[in-house]
Symmetry: D2
Amino acid sequence: MSVTPTPTHDAVAIAAAHDDGSDETPVHGYTPAKAEYLRRLRRVEGQVRGIARMVDEDVYCIDVLTQIAAVTKALQAVGIGLVEDHLGHCVVDAARESPEAGAAKVREASAAIARLVRS
Amino acid sequence: MSVTPTPTHDAVAIAAAHDDGSDETPVHGYTPAKAEYLRRLRRVEGQVRGIARMVDEDVYCIDVLTQIAAVTKALQAVGIGLVEDHLGHCVVDAARESPEAGAAKVREASAAIARLVRS
Amino acid sequence: MSVTPTPTHDAVAIAAAHDDGSDETPVHGYTPAKAEYLRRLRRVEGQVRGIARMVDEDVYCIDVLTQIAAVTKALQAVGIGLVEDHLGHCVVDAARESPEAGAAKVREASAAIARLVRS
Amino acid sequence: MSVTPTPTHDAVAIAAAHDDGSDETPVHGYTPAKAEYLRRLRRVEGQVRGIARMVDEDVYCIDVLTQIAAVTKALQAVGIGLVEDHLGHCVVDAARESPEAGAAKVREASAAIARLVRS
């Protein structure tokens, strides 16, 4: 957290890596997608905390429900993004390796998609 | 549809092929998966007709809702099956052709999965 | 369908009864909501039949999935409409009868809503 | 957290203040249902944080998706519980007040239920 890089010729690179991440959690060397997922999940976490606060402060039930529907959608959207990334990397890579490897990954991904559709 | 086979030595084979399908739609030469989808969709169609009959006969609302939830699940299950087949054939084949072709099919499949999750 | 009643003193009554319903299913004396539900369910039934036809004619999988998502939504919309009617009639009437009767209907309705949300 | 206030005349006030909000949060004066919702929402919040950690630690995508489906269900279950409470209190009370008040609350609740079903 409190990284204070000694001013060497690496400082710029370190600072740049540092900038990639968000305020609280420095994310270095990750794919941009990962930083984006973390940002969205942190937002969902804050929204869930907000729902708890609404319940705690006796906010009108219908407004709490509206927020629950919104957060559910946000969480599912993260799931859909992860599915797309998984298909585009793991499944495609396995398929290029061998038809059998591809088929195994497809079966596994389909079961995960089914859980998402049913949730 | 209106097949009237002349009584030759092929008649038994034709009748057998005919039996594979259902009453209304003879299904020949299809993959077993396709025949199975048609069977399930015909069942869903009959269930929707049953729901209409329930409404028409003033069946208690809660029982109609239970049936609507069941049919929605059956329809989504067909969708999930189609997703698995699509990933296992179109997407895997495209991935084996080239990374670019794979990526395009993954994008398209993910959009379809998103529509299914949100429905 | 092409009923041409002989012009007797019953003709007006027959025509009136005929007008109430749709082509296939004459609907008499029902609330407008009921006729509307039947119309929507008959439409869903036709859409499911259309999906089966798409599968049968080897229409591209993604297009079949798009249609499945649309029909699932249409079916859920019928369910949501029925929930609203049920709350507005059965549940409200029970609540006005006694708190206990209201509570029992609320429990039953909530279980049905839960099945709909999870489907 | 492990505050052991010296027994002064402020001790009672401190203890009371302490009770208001800790991480687990002793909940006073609330209906048991409210305390239970807060407990469940705090659990969901922890699960979302857990998902972020999984992403951060490059846990296998399919396992992250399984967890997302589970948390989505948990959040929807809170929503379903709130719907039941809302129907049992606000809607039933309004219905007992007047048919018009009941009808208005039913319309509002149905819209919230629809958002939940579609999420």
